[in-house]
Subunit: 235 residues, 2 copies
């Protein structure tokens, strides 16, 4: 089956966790909104008057199914493509971790948008600076410390279980994003999370991921996405 991924065409954003999973397992997919008339098609699906249209991108069309919410899409893809255990216990564990990544991603977004997503960054520079400081003082050590601990407790190769799952791919993206958005702060912090950095490097070296990262399917980070580099927030 050829999947259709619907996501904002100019950013990695929340769609990137889905792209990484699709790319790693070699699934065929169209990144619909990046193609001709793709944005119109995406909007039309969100306005559907029947069923359960998604609140926001990303969403995935898989045959007759339309699945919204990043973590929900990964739940669906994971057990079908060897990126999550088939057994309930492992499936729920991986999903639990992905939902924790979801929470972290929301806090990343709030570093540049503490007054809400509907105002511009330029309208909230001072609170963004404060929130970024709290984020690095309290939240990054708490979240990444947690993931590092689980990784070490599990032997260092994967966050959970004995094979790579989509949560490992997602944590690769977290490291990538923090390096882009906060290069100075992240450089100082990386010594606290040696296991996650090594995991990042192993994921980057997987052949499908390596091919993807070198392709133009991988959109460059930019200041419209979740991970944004504003120098004032990285000091």
């Amino acid at each position: 089956m050829r999947y259709e991924l619907y996501y904002w065409p100019g950013i990695q954003g929340r769609g990137e966790y889905v792209r990484l999973a699709l790319e790693d397992c070699g699934a065929g997919y169209a990144d619909v909104a990046r193609g001709e008339r793709g944005m119109a098609a995406m909007m039309k699906m969100m306005e559907a008057a029947k069923g359960t249209p998604p609140f926001a991108p990303p969403f995935l069309k898989a045959g007759q199914l339309v699945i919204g919410q990043t973590a929900n899409i990964l739940l669906y893809l994971g057990s079908r493509h060897g990126l999550a255990p088939k057994a309930e216990k492992g499936r729920l564990s991986v999903h639990q971790l992905q939902l924790t990544v979801t929470d972290f991603v929301s806090e990343v977004h709030d570093t540049h948008h503490p007054l809400g997503p509907s105002l511009y960054y330029e309208e909230q520079r001072a609170p963004a600076k404060k929130r970024s400081e709290e984020f690095w003082r309290e939240r990054v050590p708490k979240y990444l410390g947690y993931f590092e601990r689980l990784l070490q407790n599990n032997g260092g190769s994967y966050l959970t279980g004995r094979r790579l799952t989509y949560i490992d791919l997602s944590l690769f993206q977290i490291v990538e994003g923090l390096r882009y958005a906060f290069p100075r702060r992240m450089k100082a912090f990386e010594r606290e999370i040696p296991g996650l950095i090594a995991l990042h490097d192993r994921v980057a070296d997987r052949s499908n991921i390596r091919g993807y990262l070198a392709s133009d399917r991988r959109i460059a980070f930019n200041e419209d996405g979740i991970f944004r580099h504003y120098k004032a927030l990285d000091m």
Copy 2:
């Protein structure tokens, strides 16, 4: 099976969505952290050196399983207790909607904590005021308008499908919480969401829910939870 729910003992918070599901289906459960030595037991489970301990409460112990993240717990409970369809399509739809509630709840929290969860409200009154205004101008109409539309498209009885699911219980809680935290603003807004208000009333009138709400198992709203009433944010 008697479940064990682990959540902060003094608040409804994110645990409440799980409590409502457990109560509605009449499942037996202990609200562990509200009992003697319960907090110590909760902390110990989070510090487990094996497996995939949860990042934060709430989590549910179901036999040998320990399941973290509110929406993940509901995913688990839903199909077991008739609060979600068993078929994949319906199960994913309900979960997608619950993850959208999760996003909304996170934005509710940000109204009083725009600079982050690690500072006190008193340290962020002015940005909280701004964020609350944006929240009511942009976000509440967008989220609740979406849920209202789905409810109407589905005939008005349930958000999705032909039976009550945990997402209907969760939207009851959203209406309850907004009424508590923002009584003035919510009063003016309710005319925009007649379907959700009627759904709220029907849920409140379900016999198990009615019994629960009248019991001391239902913790009163207060200013340590997600929905907090600060008069300055409701003007």
